[in-house]
Symmetry: C2
Subunit: 295 residues, 2 copies
């Protein structure tokens, strides 16, 4: 595995691979890698001749007062982990390489970015879209892999890829969870042992909402109330939002009649945790169809 730190070198690798007719997969990350990232890398290694993992804690997607400085980092452990999964290149640019003096062009995130996390983190998806477009341009991948814990992020990036006529296929991947159901996240490291013990409540609330849907319930507000009521049992949790939106365009729905994303975010101690379920009233659960989303 090679470590690359400049866009120019990354482009050179990618160009050479292309000339040899090799397919390329990209897994964009902010590092402090866990098995959730690992599952994306494994899939990329399986589906492409070459896999690039990028590690970049992207300053433009953090707002004032957010955890840019304290975001957990462990480059050596990340590198060893990625090497063990047979990644070919670890692309780790410094902020000044991605945003040199005079940098001034941003991608205006699709309107989908104004809801859910976009409402509580203004500018977040603008930063995400901008950096992912730059990473895609640096690595020229055939496929890029994203975890569905960040479902809204995936929908927005796929919209961007279609709108800007990119050549990369954006691949959504199932959320990987701890044994007790908590979605894996680098930010879980912020939790104290006591907070960690109650953290799976977020997932429990979402599963309760899913059960409500499966039992025939179709009221979006009611499903969201199920989540907030579940969290209310634990005063350390502070719900940021729970909202049901159409999976196709992230518009809010009142009654669930087509595939629906129920997403939520909640603060627990220093961490802001997010998770979601995707429910399709017209068919079997996504897992039942082999984990392939239908949108």
């Amino acid at each position: 595995m090679e470590i690359v730190t400049s866009v120019r070198d990354m482009k050179a690798r990618s160009r050479a691979w292309r000339k040899q007719g090799l397919s390329v997969g990209l897994v964009p990350t902010m590092g402090f890698l866990h098995p959730g990232h690992g599952s994306l890398v494994e899939r990329s290694v399986l589906e492409n001749s070459r896999t690039v993992v990028s590690i970049f804690v992207n300053p433009t997607q953090f707002g004032p007062g957010e955890d840019l400085e304290s975001y957990p980092r462990d480059r050596d452990r990340d590198a060893a982990y990625m090497k063990s999964l047979c990644a070919n290149v670890l692309f780790m640019p410094e902020p000044g390489e991605m945003y040199p003096p005079g940098f001034a062009t941003y991608v205006e995130a699709p309107e989908l970015g104004l809801r859910l996390c976009g409402a509580s983190r203004p500018g977040h998806f603008r930063g995400v879209c901008t950096v992912v477009l730059k990473l895609l341009n640096a690595a020229s991948p055939d496929r890029a892999y994203f975890g569905l814990k960040d479902a809204q992020q995936f929908f927005i990036l796929r919209r961007m890829a279609r709108d800007l006529d990119l050549d990369t296929s954006m691949v959504p991947c199932e959320t990987v969870r701890e044994e007790d159901g908590l979605a894996m996240s680098s930010r879980n490291s912020y939790l104290t042992p006591e907070e960690r013990a109650v953290a799976p409540l977020l997932r429990k609330g979402l599963l309760a909402a899913e059960a409500y849907f499966r039992d025939g319930g179709r009221e979006a507000l009611k499903a969201c109330a199920v989540v907030s009521e579940t969290l209310a049992a634990e005063p350390r949790f502070s719900l940021d939002y729970a909202e049901a939106v159409a999976a196709c365009d992230l518009r809010p729905v009142s009654r669930v009649s087509s595939e629906t994303l129920l997403a939520c975010a909640a603060r627990l101690g220093r961490a802001r945790l997010i998770d979601n379920i995707i429910f399709d009233p017209s068919g079997p659960s996504r897992k039942g169809r082999g984990g392939r989303p239908c949108w």
Copy 2:
């Protein structure tokens, strides 16, 4: 010459050329082509194995009340002209092909877009950046050619290409002029014969400002006043702006100490004409260096 109307087909052509190791030049236009465009195409044909000319009257760069509907069009004449210059592909997508239902991602133009034409045409450069990024992604050119009549546009697009790590080299090309000095523009067709007769006054004002600089004058405001005073002789002209900015970053300058863009826009009848000079106090005129800009 082949006429291509879908992004998918354009990408297929471009991919096939790349596989054969052929270089590609792109000349993005809004059609109603004149020898100014022709000079860009000739240069592209000279410098690349294949040349794509795009014709697309881009709705997202027109503001309310601007001339989107009335923008002059003549597809047949354009096609014959481009064929005569040995362009290989004329890419003429319909608006619905470039902006299908649900389109929602835009490029936020660099701050350079807030001055000069950006001030009088809000959103204009956002539309320009978005469409040019899409055209670049469709044609994957090694080089893209732009006329310096639209100097601000060129600076903004070059900034975009650098910021987003695009592989295309953005090539500035000298403004082509009518015999009386008027910069060629599709919008010149809006002028009545009487207006056309006085139109070169804009160029005359700029040349007078250039003479002021060449004689040692360095006050930006004074140079701009030279332009407005020249235009004041003709009541049919209404100056939109005349502003001196640094060529490197388009920031306003008060004293001219490095390469400076003096740009202006003025209304004349139904037309809004733009033109500019670029003056370098430290060296010979750009033309003297073979027409190669130093920025």
